[in-house]
Symmetry: C2
Subunit: 250 residues, 2 copies
Amino acid sequence: MSHHLRLVTPELAATLRRCQDCPLSRLCLDEAPPGAAAPLPSCDEQRCVHLDGGQHLFRVSDAVDQQLHIIRSGDVKLYQHGRDGGQHIIEFLGPGAWLGLESLNEQQRHAGAVALTPCDVTTVPYSMLTTLLDRQPRSAEAFGQLLSDTIARHQQHAAMLRSTSAVQRVAQFLLHRLEQAPHGTAARASLPMSRQDIADYLGLTSSTVSRCLSALRRRGWLSMGQRAFSLPDQPAVQQVAAGMPLALDD
Amino acid sequence: MSHHLRLVTPELAATLRRCQDCPLSRLCLDEAPPGAAAPLPSCDEQRCVHLDGGQHLFRVSDAVDQQLHIIRSGDVKLYQHGRDGGQHIIEFLGPGAWLGLESLNEQQRHAGAVALTPCDVTTVPYSMLTTLLDRQPRSAEAFGQLLSDTIARHQQHAAMLRSTSAVQRVAQFLLHRLEQAPHGTAARASLPMSRQDIADYLGLTSSTVSRCLSALRRRGWLSMGQRAFSLPDQPAVQQVAAGMPLALDD
DNA sequence: CGCTTTTTTGAGCTCGGTCAATATAAGTGG
DNA sequence: CCACTTATATTGACCGAGCTCAAAAAAGCG
């Protein structure tokens, strides 16, 4: 089966029926029989993998399989092992995010990826991507921006880890989840990961995370359901995130 | 003045007189008059900037000037402002490192770059780079690897920030400096940055950094000169970096 | 040689980690 | 649907690593 690659710019994507809900904002890999007028297969018909919650997409020390992944639905956590045995969460990734960018250069993966919820993941072989990059100058640019964004995101995360206070980190985390979430849903975001995961992400203990969340709830800044939350008083939380001191006990 | 861009592979680079000490391992931008047999200008004759210690290459909130930089000699710190006023050091960069990868996508810089020592910096306009990337598939690959490396480096840094103990972080920092340094010089590395900078990089206080260094010195693990250090007992320091507890006081 | 800036060291206190006890949620099988 | 088990979350009590504040020592620098 031979693949022909096309770049679909945002403008062009809008004109394609099946691609218009494509989670890729910049790059869209579109498979078409060369020179054929047959109906374009949708992005959804590309190689997709389904994962149940808890399943691994890849593990630390796996051989790199020469392909990237794009999350189409669901949430994934990217982690590595700390020297002390506990795992360090690198980041939580949702629909539209790319996985594997940090392994382009490596033989072995130094991070693992686990589904937090049921997921659909598209697989993109390096060969596909490099072919596309060679043919389409603008896509190389877009890909550069993708990597650039990732770097910037990690710098931000590192900055969060240097924030002194625990509540401060938790507040920043909640706000970050909110602005990542589809903000049509009235400032409500999901929390598909465990407290331990949040703790490992923020460099804290699950106990401390709990205490911070409780402290925010007690004041009415935060309201939590099972796997989601909202911030009734977002400005207050922003103040906390900016460094406003906040006692954990009553 | 029109520029013609050539990709110089590592193999080819070795055959070029003036390029053989080029600090770029993967990409080498080489300017030549189109079709002319004139002697090739050396990499060193490309646009270079010299900076004295303390001078800024760019500041936070500067407009992105559509160019990247490569450090040819000297050390640079990349920083951003923390909410609390103090600065957060993103990373310390030495000869061969690229600057500006995190801003490909941005209008404004969200990080600043300052010379720690006198520096020579080569300037690479985006236009040059994208032209090169378009023409030379392998260079696009190499550039991808460069970005991938940067992402991996940041993930490592984030992991360090989650390391619980202060001595642990300091030990990891010292070891990292050592392995980055030209290891011909008998396990000796430079420390061109202030204690405050180290503290901001590690998420600690300058006081604590001092205390940790003193603790290591007291035990004879570490020996420090003005702006450099060595590790007489590197294995011991590695143990500390791996989590071995170590009392700060005597 | 004064002056400023950086580094080191000290003493007290606080935040957040550790350990442990509930409490709540999520499964499991009858 | 309920009783039982297991995993996850919350909360409490205590303690130590590291921050704060501050002073002394060392290093730059004109």
